[in-house]
């Protein structure tokens, strides 16, 4: 992809999304629905990859940001009744952006105090923040508490899901593939050397957290309007873990690999459905075997410096 064509890619993706959503009634609604899951997971994985992969942080709290986005967007759209497509589009995009913005705010809150911490300590603290966010929603009776919140509108369709995924991919790729963005990798590779070269590691880390959390929030909004019912329990720590799995399996700091891993890990359980109770057993075994066979990430082919 030449840099001149980056925006063309984005526009093309949006156009494709629009065409498919117009023709939605010709597609099998189950598989179409799976594409929303795929797109949502792609957004989550690609945005977490900015934090964990490119910047070398280790966040285990992505589901928390997702929850903030999901609840925010749902509360906003629930204020509206049935709307014509254009009004619905305007409200929905506003709600998604608001969800992303609030999640980004949460990312800022989490990002700043965690900067002193590294590695496993950072992982456990972000996990803690994610769990605290979940417990807070569990105690917010205004949004249903533990009983969950019904989302009035099922507005997530192929256009929104695919478009948002394309936007997330574009933003992360564009950020990283610039002189500015080499700073993320520099912070990951060697924080001391990076700061000796005038790079402010704090700023890069916080930026990664904020941008990553923003897209997790957008993904949460899409999720809410796709499933039409959200509970705090849906954003638990296993959800965060499954996003981390996508990033590591795809290859840390490898956007294309991470996208493919997100697609694979969303489709795999669907294809395994016929074996029912054995499905999760096989899935977990596959996880171990894939990792043993390709520790550098399934889709990492060139030699990269091992992420620390």
């Amino acid at each position: 992809m030449n840099i001149r064509h980056a925006k063309t890619f984005l526009l093309g993706a949006l156009a494709l999304g629009f065409l498919v959503s117009v023709a939605a009634s010709h597609f099998n609604s189950y598989w179409l629905f799976i594409t929303y899951d795929i797109a949502i997971n792609v957004i989550l994985a690609v945005s977490l990859n900015l934090i964990n992969g490119y910047t070398g942080q280790f966040s285990l709290g992505h589901a928390g940001f997702m929850a903030v986005g999901a609840y925010t967007a749902a509360v906003i759209t629930n204020q509206f009744g049935d709307l014509n497509p254009f009004a619905a589009g305007a409200v929905f995009s506003g709600a998604l952006l608001a969800g992303g913005a609030l999640a980004a705010g949460a990312g800022l809150l989490v990002g700043i105090p965690t900067l002193r911490l590294r590695g496993d300590y950072l992982a456990i603290v972000t996990l803690g923040f994610g769990e605290i966010i979940r417990v807070i929603f569990q105690n917010m009776q205004g949004v249903g508490g533990a009983r969950g919140l019904s989302v009035a509108h099922g507005w997530t369709d192929f256009f929104w899901a695919f478009g948002a995924a394309a936007a997330a991919v574009y933003v992360v790729a564009a950020l990283v593939h610039s002189t500015y963005g080499r700073g993320f990798l520099a912070v990951r590779d060697d924080e001391v050397a990076a700061s000796a070269m005038g790079i402010n590691p704090v700023r890069y880390k916080v930026t990664a957290f904020v941008v990553g959390a923003f897209f997790a929030g957008v993904a949460g909004g899409l999720y809410a309007h796709s499933k039409q019912f959200i509970t705090p329990g849906g954003f638990n720590f296993m959800q965060s873990v499954s996003i981390v799995v996508m990033v590591i399996l795809g290859g840390m700091g490898n956007t294309v690999g991470v996208i493919l891993a997100a697609v694979l890990l969303t489709l795999l359980p669907e294809f395994l459905r016929p074996i029912a109770e054995y499905r999760m057993i096989l899935y977990s075994l596959l996880l171990v075997v894939l990792m043993l066979a390709r520790p550098q990430g399934l889709f990492t082919f060139r030699k990269q410096g091992d992420a620390k």
Binding site: I3, S178, V263, A276
Partner: protein, 394 residues
Amino acid sequence: MQKFLAPIQHARGISLIAAATTLFLTVFLTGCDKPASTPGAATGPIKVGEFASMTGSEATFGQSSHEGTLLAVDHLNAAGGVLGRKMELLMEDDQSQAGQPATVVRKLIARDGVVAVLGEVASSRSLEAAPICQQSQIPMISPSSTNPKVTAVGDYIFRVCFIDPFQGTVMANFARHTLHLKKVAVLTDVKSDYSLGLAKFFKEGFIADGGAIVAEQNYSSGDKDFSAQLTALKAVNPDGIFVPGYYTEVGLIALQARQLGLNVPLLGGDGWESSSLIPIGGVSLEGSYFSTHYSPEDTSAAVQDFVKAFRAKYNETPNAMAALGYDSAMILADAMKRAGTTDGAKVRDALAATKDFQGVTGKITMDADRNASKPAVILAIRDGQFKYVETVSP
């Protein structure tokens, strides 16, 4: 210099993804949804979908419910099927995970072409599936989701269990008038909407009856240690404790309450009913009461046949979840027979008209809100067994 600015690997990757997307779209997405009911083709089995938590944190409930449903389908097919066709149950596991029900119910409807959907135990997961069934005009029957919101989603959504207001009030009346309790404490499972709903209506009913709620404490399903909450409850000296939770926790709660010297009766709802309750709680449960749908000791033929068949098939005593799962399939079959077709709208109408259907869990009549109206049974735990106390009609 351009090549430094955007690594060439990126280009290949993007085209790879574009190609994969196109392939995916053409291979999987094309082909409209399977028509749910083809009135002309009245041959082959009737496909009924079920979604249940067969794995994950609430697998024990989902598995019980599924066992009951499966037994019902066996019975129906052994008796010649429905409308002269076999009934085929297509079960999908939702892993007790939020987000999954929406996916699996879409699969059942769009890919497998089921004519009706059964499920789920947990209201939060039924609420995810309900809008989809409603939109596709496929009748959905929840065996044991008690949150009133579930059937409020639309006129295609039914349930065979009672809802929280009825059961909560029944236990409140029983505690106040039969047991003559004055001060009751409530211990709620805040992770479960079932528990929250039951607690709410119990409290309202008990206060309306002139009793007092002296303390409220919470736990989360999956907890094992309740000593902190029970110690706090003990400090206020209640006459009884209402524990509207599931049997998975109630046994331990009883055990720990007695260990702390808290010897007042415990009260609960249908979530208690399971053959694994008493082994865990043991003598600590003596003198406790709970409301439920049926008693395995009920001498009526419907119940005894069910219990016998269930024991024969699974080698265990059916719990409330299994009985409700059984009834959900039976009531669907009954409606199909009366409608004379598997067409969604007509089955819906027949379901709504269900009156005095003799299920395992009592005589069921669908009310205007598509909730089952049926009597509740109150059981006591004495000598390590469930003992019938009384029946309360709505």
